[in-house]
Structures are given as structure tokens and as C-alpha cells.
């Protein structure tokens, strides 16, 4: 009796195995030869692969998913033209995913996290006729590969504008005499705080832009930055915000992906602390209804649409792509009711000045380092932390630091006066 059952089971198992083998033989042959691309010819049916760090439940990835979907809609892509890979960690699974997408016939493959880059580069070196884009990455040029690209937004512009929003609020608070002695440092500067992820150029560029935005409205400000050493840590971001508020900071900006800081500011507000939050990525009013002013965000769809349509036309992508308000690639979220009067008009004015090229965020007359104006800043473009190589270039000309122009990833890393890093170095 038992033996019979077992033999049936074994037979079933063997049938399964055979099915498995034939199935893989099928897909193995499926790599159709006519997908080989011809340079310069239109390729409407291009297949896109998306390697994503998280899924729609994680804000940063959700923004990328939205971007790709919006681009696909605008370009009338069919559903089966996009192959999704969710929750791909920053390890060899990324390489596996990239190669599987190549097998599936994808000719343009995006990855959305910085840590994916090295695996994308590996895949790119092995499959030269597929284009790989490591979003937010920085090694496209130094890799020497023709089919590896980087793209970023000029997020510093929207951080500057979100700083203007915060500055308007500070000006109002000062005018209404809501600020107390604790909110000023010994030199009479109003204290603002910033929760940063890592002490890298990407974050430094962001908080400096935010600070300069505030300072364009109120001259007397000083900023304290607390790093969490994580891109996403609700608890640590909340604690950092609490610490900054305990120091007297009235505004809490952030460059980390969770809602930890705004939630902490809301809680402190309910306990009588005077503080407001400026978020990142998403509108924070859902977690901080009384204190969230606005958030700086990316509009990734602009790049995705550009990249896909470029490939459809059979053209090659630029190694580095970075756009800002000029192309609506960055934005700030809806201004909340907590914002000061006149903010909306001011924001519009600033954005149109940026668009018109009249206002430059890193204008060298607007900041100093060690009390002196900076006239020269050579940036490291070959990723060796030194700026003396022939590849490295001067980023200051025409009176401002040209952020994200020499390469898409941010490179402004000067420690300007007025900003104190509380826990770096």
C-alpha cells in the first residue's frame, strides 16, 4: 500500500522534473535574434527593465515606480514592455536581476539605488549592446563603458526653494515675536536644524542649498546638521530631530527617506515646542498636519520619459543627465496652511528666476568658507577623493558653482560658514 503511494509520488516528481527541464529548454531558446538593435533606427517596441530597491510601500522606490509608469503612459508603452524587479538588494542579486532582464529581451535597464551601481557596471561590461542606467550613480564616465549611464535630478534647486519657504516662516515668526531666546545662538542667529543621512556630497549639497534658501529670506540664521548614517531609519531620524529641537532649532529639514523627523516635530508641537518641518520625497502633512510646511521632491518621470523616448528613436543616452525646474524634474509639494503669508508668490518668483537662469543656488557672493569668498573649486570627477587629476575640473565660473553640470551626481561639498555638523568626522 505504502509502496504504491510512494511510487506514484515518485512518478509525479519525475514528471515534474521533466516538465521543468523542457520548460527551461524553451525559455533558453527564446532569446529572439531580431531584437538586436540597429543604431539610428526607430525602436518603438523597446523593452524596459526596472530594478528597484523596494516596492510601492517604500517612498523612494514608489516615486520611481510612479515616474516609470507616467513615462510609459505618455509614450504609450504596452504593459509587457516593462519588466519589474522589486525589492532587489544591493548585492549580487542586482547583477542576477540585470542579467535576467537581459535574457528577457530588455534593451534599457534602470536601477534606482546608488548601491546597485557596481553590479549594473558588471552587467554592462558583459552585455555591451544593452544600455544600463544607474540612477543617482557616479561612475558612468570613469567606468569607460559606453553603455553605462547615470542620471540625477537637480534636487538642490527644490531644496533651495523649500529653504525659501522655511525662511518666510522664520521671518513671520520673528516679526510676530514668537521666537524665544533659546531659538537664537550667542551671535543672534536663528537656529535651524537638518537631519542628514550620510556626510556625503549628495547630502552636503542638499543642506547647503536649503540653508542658502533660508538665508535668502532671513540673513541671521545658523544651521546644525545631525547625521543618522542611514537612508531610512524612522527612529534615528526622529531622535535626531528631537535633539535638534532641544538645541533650539525652529525648522527641521531633512535628507533621509522616512517620516521620522516630521512625526517627531509634530509630537513636539503638541507638547508646546515651537518648530516646523520641511520634508523630502513626499508631502508630510499626513504625519505632521500642523507643522509640515512643504517637501522637496523629484519628478523622475521627466528623465524616464526622456531616456525611453531617446532609445526608441535609436539614439544613445548621455552619460550624465541632470535637470531641475527648467524641465520640471524637481518640485516642492503643496504648501501647507502653516506656511507664512505671501509664501506662494515668493516661491513662484524664485522658481521663475531659477528657470530664467537669473538665480543660481550656489552663487559665490552668497556664501563664504572660513570668512572668505570661494573663487575656485575643482571637483573630483574620477572618484578618488582627490581633485588634482587631469580628469577633475573647475566647477566655479561665471560667479557660481555649477552643481550637477560636470556630472549628474551632486559634487558640492564645501563646508560653508553658518553650518555646523554635529556628528560628522
Amino acid at each position: 500500500m505504502n509502496r504504491k503511494v510512494l511510487s506514484v509520488l515518485l512518478a509525479v516528481a519525475m514528471v515534474f522534473c521533466m516538465f521543468a527541464l523542457s520548460a527551461c529548454a524553451d525559455t533558453g531558446d527564446k532569446k529572439d535574434p531580431d531584437s538586436g538593435k540597429d543604431e539610428g533606427t526607430a525602436n518603438e517596441d523597446i523593452k524596459i527593465g526596472a530594478i528597484l530597491l523596494g516596492d510601492e510601500n517604500e517612498g523612494y522606490t514608489a516615486a520611481h515606480i510612479d515616474g516609470i509608469k507616467k513615462a510609459a503612459e505618455n509614450l504609450n508603452l504596452k504593459e509587457d514592455q516593462i519588466v519589474w524587479r522589486y525589492s532587489v538588494p544591493e548585492n549580487e542579486n542586482c547583477y542576477d536581476a540585470a542579467m535576467e532582464l537581459v535574457d528577457a529581451g530588455c534593451e534599457l535597464i534602470f536601477s534606482n539605488s546608488f548601491g546597485h551601481q557596481t553590479y549594473m557596471q558588471q552587467a554592462a561590461s558583459e552585455v555591451p549592446d544593452v544600455t544600463f542606467v544607474a540612477m543617482t550613480g557616479d561612475t558612468a564616465v570613469t567606468s569607460g563603458l559606453d553603455n553605462l549611464c547615470n542620471a540625477f535630478t537637480k534636487i538642490y534647486q527644490s531644496r533651495y526653494v523649500s529653504g525659501v519657504v522655511a525662511g518666510m516662516k522664520l521671518a513671520e515668526l520673528e516679526k510676530d515675536e514668537k521666537l524665544t531666546e533659546d531659538n537664537y545662538d550667542e551671535d543672534g542667529n536663528i537656529l535651524v536644524g537638518y537631519v542628514g543621512a550620510y556626510p556625503y556630497a549628495e547630502v552636503i549639497s542638499g543642506y547647503t542649498a536649503f540653508f542658502l534658501g533660508i538665508q535668502s529670506v532671513v540673513e541671521n540664521v545658523a544651521m546644525q546638521v545631525q547625521f543618522t548614517n542611514s537612508w531610512f531609519d524612522i527612529t534615528a531620524e526622529g531622535e535626531a530631530a528631537n535633539m535638534l529641537m532641544a538645541n533650539g532649532c525652529v525648522i527641521i529639514g531633512q535628507h533621509a527617506d522616512s517620516t521620522g523627523a516630521p512625526a517627531a516635530v509634530q509630537a513636539a508641537h503638541e507638547n508646546g515646542t515651537l518648530a516646523f518641518s520641511v520634508g523630502y520625497n513626499i508631502d508630510m502633512q499626513s504625519v505632521a498636519p500642523d507643522v509640515a510646511l512643504t517637501s522637496a521632491t523629484n519628478n523622475w518621470a521627466v528623465y524616464y520619459e526622456y531616456a525611453i523616448s531617446t532609445m526608441q528613436k535609436g539614439e544613445t543616452l548621455p552619460k550624465n543627465w541632470a535637470e531641475g525646474f527648467e524641465q520640471d524634474a524637481v518640485a516642492i509639494t503643496e504648501l501647507s496652511a502653516a506656511c507664512a503669508e505671501g509664501t506662494e508668490e515668493k516661491v513662484e518668483e524664485v522658481i521663475s528666476a531659477i528657470k530664467a537662469g537669473e538665480l543660481h543656488v550656489f552663487d559665490i557672493t552668497k556664501f563664504t568658507v572660513d570668512g572668505k569668498q570661494v573663487d575656485s573649486c575643482v571637483v573630483d570627477l574620477n572618484n578618488n577623493l582627490q581633485n588634482t587629476d587631469p580628469e577633475d575640473k573647475e566647477a566655479i565660473w561665471d560667479g557660481y558653482f555649477h552643481e550637477s553640470e560636470l556630472r549628474s551626481a551632486p559634487s558640492f561639498a564645501l563646508n560653508i560658514d553658518g553650518i555646523t555638523k554635529l556628528n560628522a568626522d
Partner: protein, 375 residues
């Protein structure tokens, strides 16, 4: 009498309430595997109901996608094999320790230090040494690093009777911190906080392809280890001592076995094999080091070791099953836009049934009569 009773209840199918629970002496191999397979099939039925209830999708389609995720193309098959042997290797490392009832839950850390040693060799010696010498150095250093990580808790246990479970667990965190430090030390490009792929151009220190297969060497190494460990545990004096210590320390002492020495010696081996897993992970698959190099497999391997009852041959099947579930879960998440949690429910149900089936294998009730029939 009991024989008769067993026969009657067997006819009534085994979802009857348990009449009597008693530990079994042993069960024929085929029967125990039969029970496991039935458990898997039952779990698939339950999963089908759950899938339909939650997503309104055809469960067969979902299963098909899971299968495709693990075996859908030649590349996928090899990735599944690569990950299976890496999990298996840790299971093999745990086998001797667990068999002597030494709860080594520090495999994660032992793998990491082995990986750090390997990465260090690749980075500092990759361009200096010829390939055979480099491999020799990588193997030796990774084994030593893993063995060191394994033997420290064993020495403390044999000398001062410390609790090895806590000790090995805590050693994981030390290893993770050391890894973070090394990542900061070796980060490339600087400032990125990632080591990145080491020697992407020269591939110095990478496993060579064998028979045109990138991961063939991983498979050969791990299978050799599994067979070696099987023989070591089954047919050597050391293996015998390990099993006596595992049954009862007092008996072992009475029989003249130096229990402390067996602890230390076995943990040297267990740690060294785990360290070697780190070598295979870094040199043979990821070509980089990060705190995720072990990726939680050090803990998953505990399930593998237990489900396989420390039999390294059985571990092959268990590892394959767990990796199959992992790959399948990823695939259905991508194909059907289900998020991770939906696929984890399926994995959870299947594991629950398989682990649950061990109860029926270890304890006898209504099946006793049949048991004798087969034997």
C-alpha cells in the same frame, strides 16, 4: 494489539485527532520522506486557498510562476544552484556542532569573517600573487578566520561553562561591526560606503568558470564538503565522539572522552567550514564584501540543519527547497505585482507544514501499524 489498532486508525485517514503520542524509535527513510512530500502537497492546497482568497488569482498560475522564478531559464537554474550550495555549505558547517548539541548560532558571523579574510586577500594580494597561490591563501585565511570565530565560544564553554548560544550569537554582532569597518576601509569609489565589485576587469581572485559554468566550482566544492562531512560524522572516531557527547555529556565523560577537547576540535571544524562558505560567497559569487554577504543565511541554515537532522545529504534537498521558495516568492512578487509579504505568506505556510510534518515523523500515534508493514 497495537498493530491492529494502528491498522484501523490508518484506514480512517490521518487527520483524526491524536489518540496517543509517543516518541518513535526510528522510521524507514522512504516513509518519512513520504510524509514530508504529503505535507508539501497539503501545504500547496492550503496556499492555493489562501492565494485565491487574497488575490483571486489562479493558484496554479502562481505556482507555475514560482517554478519559473527558480528554474525558468538556464541562468535562473544556475542562480538557484549557486544559492542552494551556499546555504547548504553553512548547513554542513553547522552539522557537527549541532550533532554534539552545541548550539552554534554564530554561523552568520563565521561566514562574514571568512568573507572579510577573502576580500582582504583579493584586495591586497589580487595583483601580487599568481592565481593558485592566491586561492591557497584565500582558503587558508578564510578557514582560519572562521575557525577562530567558532573556537572562541567553544574554549569559553569548555573552560568556564559559558552559554554557547548567547556567545555565538553575540560574536555575530562583533563580526558585523568589523565588516562595517572594513567596508569603510576598502570602499570604492571612496566615500560611497560600498566596497563595490573587486577587480571587475582582471577578475583576480574570482572563481574560474569550469565546463563553461561560472558557478560550477562552487557546486563541486560544497558537494565535496557535504560528502566529507557525512563520512566524518558517520564513520570516523571523531564523528562517534561527537555523537556520544551529543547524546549525553556524562556518558561521554564516563567513556573517557575529553568533552572539552571535543567541543574545541569540533567548533574549529564547524567555524572553518563556515569561514570557507564566506570564501565561496565572496570569491565565487558576490565578488564583494558587505554586511549582507551572509544575508541571513547563517540563520536560515539552522532550519536546514535541523530539518535534515544534521544529515548533510538530506540538507541538499532542504536547501534546494528553501531557495526554491525564496526565488519563487521573488518571481511572483514581480510577475503579479504582489508585494513581498504576499509571497512570504506562501513560504511561511509551506515551511509550517514541512516543519509540522517532523512531528508526525518523530512521534508515533495512529501510524504505528503501517510503520511495521513497510519495515
Amino acid at each position: 494489539m497495537q498493530y491492529e489498532a494502528g491498522k484501523i486508525s490508518a484506514k480512517k485517514k490521518h487527520r483524526e485527532p491524536l489518540l496517543r503520542i509517543a516518541k518513535r524509535d526510528s522510521m524507514p527513510l522512504l516513509l518519512s520522506w513520504g510524509i514530508r512530500i504529503i505535507a508539501v502537497l497539503l501545504s500547496l492546497v492550503v496556499c492555493a486557498v489562501v492565494i485565491y482568497a487574497i488575490t483571486r488569482m489562479n493558484p496554479l498560475k502562481v505556482y507555475g510562476a514560482m517554478f519559473e522564478g527558480a528554474f525558468g531559464s538556464e541562468r535562473k537554474i544556475w542562480i538557484t544552484i549557486r544559492d542552494t550550495v551556499s546555504l547548504l555549505c553553512i548547513g554542513v558547517a553547522l552539522a557537527p556542532a549541532f550533532k554534539m548539541r552545541f548550539w552554534n548560532i554564530g554561523a552568520e558571523g563565521q561566514v562574514l569573517v571568512g568573507g572579510i579574510a577573502t576580500a582582504a586577500c583579493m584586495i591586497y594580494l589580487g595583483d601580487v600573487l599568481p592565481t593558485p597561490a592566491l586561492f591557497l591563501v584565500m582558503i587558508i585565511t578564510s578557514c582560519l578566520a572562521g575557525a577562530l570565530w567558532g573556537v572562541i565560544p567553544a574554549v569559553f564553554k569548555s573552560r568556564w561553562g559559558t552559554n554557547e548560544t548567547l556567545f555565538t550569537l553575540m560574536m555575530n554582532y562583533v563580526a558585523i561591526q568589523i565588516t562595517s569597518y572594513c567596508v569603510a576601509l576598502w570602499e570604492n569609489p571612496p566615500g560611497s560606503n560600498y566596497v563595490g565589485i573587486i577587480h571587475p576587469q582582471t577578475k583576480a581572485g574570482w572563481f574560474p568558470s569550469l565546463f563553461g559554468q561560472q558557478y560550477m566550482l562552487n557546486v563541486i566544492l560544497v558537494l565535496a564538503l557535504a560528502v566529507g562531512m557525512f563520512i566524518y560524522l558517520r564513520s570516523t572516531k571523531h564523528g562517534y565522539e561527537i555523537s556520544v557527547v551529543g547524546q549525553s555529556e556524562s556518558t561521554a565523560r564516563y567513556a573517557g572522552i575529553n568533552v572539552g577537547k571535543v567541543f574545541v576540535r569540533t567548533m574549529l571544524i564547524s567555524g572553518a567550514v563556515a569561514g570557507l562558505t564566506g570564501f565561496i560567497a565572496v570569491s565565487g559569487s558576490s565578488h564583494t564584501i558587505s554586511v549582507n554577504t551572509a544575508g541571513g543565511r547563517g540563520f536560515t541554515a539552522i532550519i536546514v540543519a535541523w530539518m535534515a537532522k544534521f544529515n548533510t545529504m538530506t540538507m541538499i534537498i532542504i536547501s534546494l527547497l528553501l531557495i526554491f521558495l525564496e526565488k519563487g516568492a521573488n518571481e511572483i512578487a514581480s510577475q503579479f505585482n504582489l508585494n513581498d509579504f504576499a509571497s512570504q505568506i506562501i513560504t511561511g505556510i509551506i515551511l509550517f507544514f514541512i516543519i509540522g510534518s517532523e512531528f508526525f515523523i518523530n512521534y508515533q500515534m495512529i501510524w504505528r501499524g503501517k510503520n511495521k508493514e513497510v519495515a
